[in-house]
């Protein structure tokens, strides 16, 4: 997968709204420069279906919400040098973790949506990945190397962090990062 002179970048979304990925795209024309420096090896914006080996940087949006996401995250961690929590859901759980305030939240949210508001065939779906008991921030599950908070983080901040990392420097988040 390694292409001459380019750094392997992966992006993934777990349970979130895709807003952090949209903010990534909000780099607008800077994406054209970025394209010269990175090889996108795995992403919801691309078609490689299996998380590859030897990824240099992985940006992860979203909280860890179901069993499938848990497995994918662990696999990605094992295959990534630098893992970054992108946005408030990955960093803290944020809106995805609002459900955690309810007792047996996995059951409570499903009951509310599929039994109490359906007019026909009310039933809880079962042939799909199972919800975890609660939604987790990324670093509760795996080691995270950098955190970019924000809902979403601005395109400028995402660009800053990537640029620093691509130049081999450590991003300085002081006065740059904020929640919400």
């Amino acid at each position: 997968m390694e292409t001459a002179g380019k750094i392997n970048l992966a992006t993934m979304w777990l349970s979130g709204c895709s807003g952090c990925h949209m903010s990534f795209l909000d780099q607008d024309e800077l994406l054209i420069d970025l394209a010269r420096k990175i090889q996108l090896v795995y992403s919801p914006l691309a078609d490689i279906k299996n998380f590859p080996e030897n990824v240099t940087v992985t940006l992860v949006e979203g909280a860890v919400n179901n069993e499938e996401q848990l497995d994918l995250l662990k696999k990605a961690r094992n295959r990534t040098k630098i893992m970054i929590s992108l946005g408030d859901c990955a960093v803290t759980g944020n809106v995805t973790a609002l459900r955690n305030a309810w007792r047996d939240s996995d059951k409570a949210v499903l009951r509310r949506a599929y039994l109490e508001t359906a007019d026909f065939h009310p039933q809880i779906p079962n042939d799909i990945p199972k919800l975890l008991k609660k939604a987790y921030a990324l670093h509760e599950i795996v080691k995270v190397d950098y955190f970019i908070p924000g809902c979403p983080p601005s395109a400028g901040l995402i660009n800053y962090v990537l640029t620093e990392l691509l130049c081999g420097r450590t991003p300085n988040m002081e006065n740059r990062s904020k929640y919400g």
């Binding site: 607008d28 394209a35 809106v95 990945p129 979403p152």
Partner: protein, 475 residues
């Protein structure tokens, strides 16, 4: 015996889904299912919160169309506080919505779908994305980036933030007015956006000649269509009333009150998807399945109301019988017509003498215990419904999301494509990509729809009816 092919995850769509293709005894495709695989539970965790938090929380359903959620939510809250918002606030909310439809449609076309249409359905999957497009069609990819940026800048100039601009849209109107400087900036950039759109429409129509097979087979079937229309039956995205049109173009219901949606829309569940299945109640489930979104809006509307979009709409309607275009592939064309409309409408709003007025918000507290807000999101009709107690704390929340309405149509469409292209005994990545491409045509927004999957490898396995593995693709 469960013989199936699984495509997981579907990529270049918004959200988490997979497709399972079920095979019959003779190894032909029996049925295909579009399955949504994640769920966040907004309807539950939005309970017991102050109603004025709703725009801010519910817009987090979706990072692509947060503005539609802000609008539907704020409209539900306007009802709860029982105010008619100032005309300028309506103009500014509409303007923001135009920005969002432009950016969302541009995203689907350039960043997600054009890699299939221009690089080819069978192109190298490592290159079949926006970065691959930048390499092979740099000018076109740059056009897409610029057009999406124009839409995002409308939002940013109004609300100071591109995504989740929930500081600005509030119950009763908007928080601050538009300045002349910002209006002038947008007006100065508008001609370029218009030019890019016209160029893209012309390119798309040239390409159509080579895409006849896709047009014929990508979700090409009769269905009902639903959406908001103006009083005169024109294209509408913010206010308006519900119209339902049958497969022959006959209006079966018109000017229905959108806040009474529960009288004519029901929701069904299936055990194999986190996304619910709405249906038109008078016809029942599943016969009452309908489509929403750009294609449906153009099918139900007699006109757009702006000159260039009206001209393009006439061209569009020629592709169908009685002005109803059945092929889901033409969601792409419909998106282009809508972008054109939104740019023209944005110009009209920016030139309205009242757009810079400083009267942009009404202040009031809880005056009603219930509110429903409805808007046309980029992907179709979006409904927010809240009940609150005397203190304004939510006791019950229901959301019907644009993408959900199309749930039945997704399944019909993936089945049609799978039947056409997937012949048992042999699979190829490119054939499976066609199944994904039809999903992209609908532009589903699944974070929204399941009020929000992880990904596993694409491991497509083909078994014969004895359960023997006859073909397998992993990548």
């Amino acid at each position: 015996m469960n013989d199936e092919i699984v495509i997981n995850p579907i990529t270049r769509i918004e959200g988490h889904a997979k497709v399972t293709i079920l095979l019959g005894k003779d190894e032909s495709v029996k049925e295909a299912r579009f399955q949504v695989t994640d769920f966040r539970g907004f309807e539950k965790f939005c309970e017991k919160r102050p109603f004025y938090e709703m725009p801010s929380i519910t817009s987090r359903s979706c990072g692509i169309c947060p503005v539609s959620h802000l609008l539907a939510s704020a409209k539900a809250c306007d009802e709860i506080v029982a105010v008619n918002i100032p005309r300028t606030a309506t103009l500014l909310r509409r303007l923001m919505h135009m920005g969002q439809i432009i950016q969302s449609h541009a995203l689907n076309l350039f960043h997600l779908s054009f890699p299939d249409l221009l690089l080819g359905m069978d192109a190298d999957p490592a290159k079949r994305n926006i970065f691959g497009l930048l390499e092979s069609y740099p000018d076109l990819a740059r056009q897409g980036i610029r057009l999406r940026k124009f839409g995002q800048e409308i939002i940013e100039k109004l609300a100071a933030k591109r995504i989740h601009s929930s500081d600005w849209i509030v119950p009763g109107g908007v928080k601050w007015p538009l300045t002349k400087e910002k209006a002038d900036y947008l007006l100065a950039n508008l001609p370029e956006a218009l030019d890019l759109t016209l160029k893209t429409i012309s390119m798309f129509k040239d390409q159509l000649q080579n895409l006849d097979e896709e047009v014929q087979n990508f979700g090409n079937f009769p269905s009902y269509y639903m959406g908001l229309v103006t009083e005169s039956g024109g294209l509408e995205h913010y206010d308006g009333k519900i119209r339902m049109v049958d497969p022959d173009g006959k209006i079966v219901a018109d000017q229905l009150d959108p806040t009474k949606y529960f009288e004519y829309i029901g929701e069904a569940d299936e055990p194999w998807s986190y996304m619910k299945f709405p249906y038109y109640k008078p016809l029942g489930y599943p016969e009452g399945a309908y489509r929403v979104g750009p294609l449906a809006r153009l099918n139900i509307s007699s006109h757009c109301g702006t000159p260039l979009a009206d001209e393009e709409l006439r061209e569009f309607k020629k592709l169908g019988k009685n002005g109803v275009v059945q092929s889901s592939f033409h969601y792409h064309y419909a998106r282009l017509v809508e972008i054109l409309f939104c740019i023209e409408r944005a110009k009209e709003i920016l030139e309205d003498p009242e757009v810079l007025s400083e009267n942009v918000g009404a202040k009031a507290f809880v005056n009603r215990s219930e509110g429903v807000g409805v808007a046309e999101a980029p992907r179709g009709t979006l409904i927010h419904h809240y009940k609150v107690d005397k203190e304004g704390i939510t006791t019950w929340v229901n959301m019907i999301i644009a993408t959900e309405h199309n749930n039945n149509a997704f399944n019909k469409a993936v089945t049609q494509v799978a039947k056409k292209y997937i012949k048992a005994k042999q699979l190829s990545e490119g054939l499976l990509n066609r199944v994904e491409a039809v999903v992209r045509a609908f532009d589903p927004c699944l974070s929204c729809a399941t009020h929000a999957l992880g990904s596993m490898a694409l491991d497509a396995q083909l078994f014969d009816s004895e359960g023997n593995l006859i073909d397998r693709i992993i990548h």
